[in-house]
């Protein structure tokens, strides 16, 4: 597809194109693989942004690896609904694998309904979504070699024909601002990474998604965007973990022992690890990921700075922790569904892990911890760049 055509389609989409128009335009590809599709910016409808009074608190839910459409996903959704009602939540973060097992193949794919709209239909909050390997896969194995498929999930954000307005994915990777401080700067800025092209099991032959054309430009964009951020709280979300005690493991050595089945030399996440450290280390307060179907709160590690590292990948599937001692944790839970509720205040954050029984749907608080804001403004000094 030519660039001009892509632009045309994109403009059309951003405008008010309907799905039938699009299909008429040329065959089921409402996608945009151009890198301009990355780096989407804040939409004016940011929650908490309309009010002129400074934000005191923000609450949100984090859930990952949701898109099964099974009973488990409905159980988690029901629990999220109750927690949001009881404790407040302004939005939800979806940490990827939004549509199992192999994503969607068009912007009007019914799996948007089965794996997202119906399960969360009673939860009227915007969902900020991130792409996972299954969203970019062409087989049920989730090999991630079809990144272009992820574009349909971006297109769905712009679709006017969708079931609800909850789905937020303005670009494959993007930032989003929430609330405001007294000086007008945002209270929270969210940075969403598209990790699949950086770590897929199998090589994507589409050159648009290689490191030169996609990975490194994303890295530079992310780094610059984080550096320029004036937000009080900075939070990143990605699908593939930076650290995890689950079967996928730590970036740099992902899927140890399994990789013999893979052909992408980047499947160990060595460059992905460098990406995350380059863009986020010492700058963000929290990193949320999914991919491993468990709940983990991993303690900060020196090379990443004070950020808390949270894996919330049990929104639809469960898994065992493979190596519970791999990284020191505040909390970890295997073989249970769950999600995380977060409350951010000026200088403290409260994180609650909710555990949901996959069979009965019973839920309870698994762990609660309140702590001070990891990155203090004074600590954000410039690095010495001498000679």
């Amino acid at each position: 597809m030519s660039v001009d055509r892509r632009k045309f389609l994109k403009n059309f989409l951003v405008g008010a194109a309907t799905i039938p128009t699009l299909t008429a335009c040329g065959g089921g590809s409402g996608s945009d693989s151009n890198n301009t599709n990355g780096g989407g910016n804040t939409s004016p409808e940011s929650p908490g942004g309309q009010d002129s009074t400074p934000t005191e608190k923000l609450q949100f839910l984090v859930v990952g690896d949701t898109g099964t459409g099974t009973q488990g996903q409905y159980h988690v959704a029901a629990a999220m609904e109750k927690v949001a009602k009881a404790q407040g939540a302004q939005f939800v973060l979806g940490a990827g694998d939004n549509i199992y097992e192999e994503g969607v193949t068009s912007v009007d794919d019914p799996r948007f309904l089965d794996s997202f709209e119906y399960p969360y239909q009673n939860l009227d909050l915007p969902f900020y979504m991130c792409l996972g390997n299954h969203d970019c896969a062409s087989t049920i194995f989730g090999g991630g070699s079809n990144n272009k498929r992820g574009d349909y999930q971006v297109d769905y954000h712009y679709s006017t024909n969708r079931y609800s307005n909850k789905w937020k994915m303005p670009a494959r990777f993007y930032n989003e601002m929430f609330g405001k401080q007294s000086n007008g700067a945002p209270f929270l800025e969210l940075f969403v990474v598209d990790s699949n092209p950086l770590t897929s099991f199998y090589i994507d032959r589409d050159e648009d998604f290689n490191w030169q054309n996609y990975g490194y430009p994303q890295q530079m964009w992310m780094k610059e965007t984080v550096e320029a951020s004036q937000a009080h709280w900075k939070i990143a979300m990605s699908h593939v973990p930076y650290k995890s005690n689950g079967k996928h493991g730590n970036a740099g050595n992902l899927d140890e022992g399994l990789r013999i089945l893979f052909n992408n030399p980047d499947a160990d996440g060595l460059r992905y690890k460098a990406f995350l450290e380059d863009a986020f280390a010492h700058k963000i307060d929290m990193l949320f990921t999914g991919h491993d179907h468990s709940m983990q709160w991993i303690k900060p590690v020196p090379e990443f700075g004070p950020a808390h590292i949270i894996v919330s990948g049990a929104g639809g599937k469960t898994d065992a922790l493979k190596e519970p001692e791999r990284n020191p944790t505040f909390y970890q839970r295997e073989e249970m569904l769950g999600f995380v509720w977060v409350e951010l205040a000026k200088s403290t954050m409260k994180v609650e892990f909710y555990v949901v029984d996959p069979d009965t749907g019973d839920y309870r608080v698994g762990f609660t911890r309140e702590t001070t804001k990891p990155v203090t403004t004074e600590a954000q000094t410039l690095e010495p760049e001498l000679v």
């Binding site: 740099g252 013999i260 052909n263 460098a274």
Partner: protein, 577 residues
């Protein structure tokens, strides 16, 4: 450079005094012009000269002069004072555009103190970028020999030609420093890059040419361990006339390798550190070695909070960025001996901080539009194996049997990180300079040179960068040329990225850089067993702009025309003022 900027910069240096011609006055060295920071009325050149300690001995400048770490408007000037019984000795330095000192552009003062082994370093401010200067020190009624140095071209300048000599592995008891002598004779060099093993730590006779024991005895005669030992070893090396001459004529850009501390050193230990033999605590030894290095080498401290940091960068106009690394002390994990251990993702060669710095520098260099991105470092980056197999990190089958896990082969993840970054950035024109291995090599740098699909040995396609390895000044590799030829004939077919290797000759490399290509000319010596001026051109390889692989060239590059005159030989070393 704007004159005002120059004055501002000069004023910022607490030690600079005169600045006379830049301030518009006569080049009168006695004019006590204050430039803002030298508030004390007593702290003037005239006063300093008047109040020199009493001294009637011979010239105190017996270790020569040196310069290093050139920037567009700054250079480190070094000397040492040998004057028994004195401490806190004032030393004045003058910098001139001409060898006759008719136009002095900078005067500064330093103090030779026992706490720094009487070495003096002055970070002189220079009015012009890309310019050759002459300097001399003055103390205790004596003038030093005259030194010559050169500022780098201004960062934004379209430099069209640079020449850099590259040396390493200069073991004093293993031979004469004929390589330094030859390099000293070349008036057209912009700088000399020393990739480490500037000194060796061994006891007399332990790693030496047995025939030279009488002629090149080392001091102290035992293995160096303490601060005093390291200082004495540097002092011993610096009495060598060829080394002094090389320092006198060119600014050096130096990094240490292992022998500046002890053999195969890493962050927390070294192969040749033996506490059981009374060598004490390694960290103490490392501190001593590092302190002596900073005292004796013309290197600028880049991070006041980190004594051990020597990784730093230089910019030579728009033509070249030079990143100098420390693959030894600041981040290296302990050496291992098995390929599986070498792939441990937690092992580091550079350490997180330095790696991050390097990647940022590469990006900066890329963004500022520098043509060549040169990485000066110690140990071989490219694999050296007895049979290169495909090397996908998911399969852990490849790489063949690597021969030396002290080099990047032992730090697979660090190498993949670096090459992965170069690939991701789409960075062209990365050139790696290497020492350590006492031999001459020209190589393509590919992520997986054994993989026929990823690297084509005939066209160089798939190569991401090039690596040029400089031979030793004196340290030996293969004992005869015959053995070297046999080894080379075996290694080249087994290492598909390897284009040339000579394991026999000592010598040096001249890196000749133009916007069109970056070229390494190897010069080999006839002998290091006796003082000699004999050298021959050995080989030449170049990489073209955008080529990212080596190609053989037939002849060495032509010298620069109108090179600035070498500093005249020392006729007035001991002139009483």
């Amino acid at each position: 450079m704007k004159r005002r900027d120059f004055i501002t910069q000069a004023s910022a240096a607490g030690l600079s005094l005169g600045l006379l011609s830049a301030c518009g006055g006569e080049p009168n060295t006695d004019n006590p012009t204050s430039n803002g920071t030298s508030q004390s009325p007593g702290n003037t050149l005239a006063n300093i000269r008047k109040h020199m300690p009493d001294y009637n001995g011979p010239t105190p400048f017996i270790h020569g002069v040196a310069s290093g770490d050139p920037l567009p408007y700054q250079v480190i000037l070094w000397t040492r004072i040998t004057a028994e019984g004195l401490d806190e000795i004032p030393v004045v330095v003058q910098v001139s555009e001409t060898p006759d000192f008719s136009s002095v552009v900078y005067e500064g003062i330093g103090y030779a103190r026992s706490s720094s082994d009487y070495t003096v370093k002055i970070d002189a401010h220079l009015p012009q970028a890309g310019t050759t200067y002459y300097y001399r020190f003055e103390s205790l009624g004596h003038l030093s020999t005259m030194g010559r140095t050169r500022s780098t071209p201004a960062n934004s300048e379209q430099t069209d030609h640079l020449r850099l000599a590259v040396v390493s592995c200069s073991n004093y008891p293993y031979g004469y420093f004929n390589a330094y002598r030859r390099v000293a004779y070349r008036p057209d060099l912009d700088a000399v890059i020393h990739l480490g093993d500037y000194i060796y730590e061994y006891a007399q006779g332990e790693y030496a040419d047995k025939n030279l024991t009488e002629k090149r005895p080392i001091d102290p005669p035992h293995e160096i361990v303490s601060l005093e030992d390291y200082r004495r070893r540097y002092a011993c090396y610096r009495t060598d006339g060829d080394l002094q001459e090389c320092h006198r004529q060119h600014p050096f850009i130096c990094v240490w390798d292992d022998h500046e501390i002890t053999d195969n050193s890493w962050q927390g230990g070294a192969k040749n550190h033996n506490p059981e033999n009374g060598e004490g605590d390694y960290l103490e030894r490392k501190r001593a070695a590092v302190k002596a290095y900073f005292e004796w080498m013309p290197i600028r401290r880049v991070d006041p909070d980190n004594d051990i940091r020597i990784y730093r960068h230089f910019e030579f106009g728009q033509l070249l960025s030079l990143m100098m690394l420390d693959t030894r002390l600041i981040g290296r994990s302990e050496q291992v001996s098995l390929p599986s251990q070498a792939r441990d993702p937690d092992r580091q060669l550079l350490g997180h901080e330095q790696e991050k710095w390097l990647f940022n520098q590469l990006q900066t260099s890329h963004s500022r539009g520098a043509r060549w991105h040169v990485i000066g470092q110690q140990v071989m980056l490219s694999p050296l194996t007895l049979g290169t197999l495909p090397d996908n990190p998911n399969w852990h089958i490849g790489g063949g049997a690597q021969l030396n896990y002290d080099q990047w082969d032992g730090y697979e993840v660090s190498r993949r990180n670096l090459l992965g970054r170069i690939e991701a950035m789409g960075l062209n024109n990365a050139v790696v300079l290497t020492g350590d291995i006492h031999s001459s090599w020209a190589m393509d740098v590919a992520v997986d040179p054994g993989n026929l699909l990823l690297y084509d040995r005939r066209t160089g396609e798939g190569s991401l960068a090039v690596e040029f390895v400089t031979p030793a000044v004196t340290s030996p590799a293969a004992p005869t040329k015959g053995l070297s030829d046999i080894a080379a004939a075996a290694l080249i077919p087994l290492n598909r990225h390897l284009k040339w290797v000579d394991l026999y000759h000592r010598g040096y490399m001249v890196l000749d850089v133009t916007p069109e290509r970056c070229k390494a000319d190897w010069f080999h010596l006839e002998t290091v067993s006796e003082p000699s001026n004999q050298e021959h051109f050995a080989r030449s390889y170049l990489t073209k702009d955008g080529g990212n692989h080596v190609e053989r060239a037939n002849a060495p590059s032509a010298p620069k025309l109108n090179a600035p005159a070498l500093a005249p030989a020392a006729s007035q070393t001991t002139e009483i003022l």
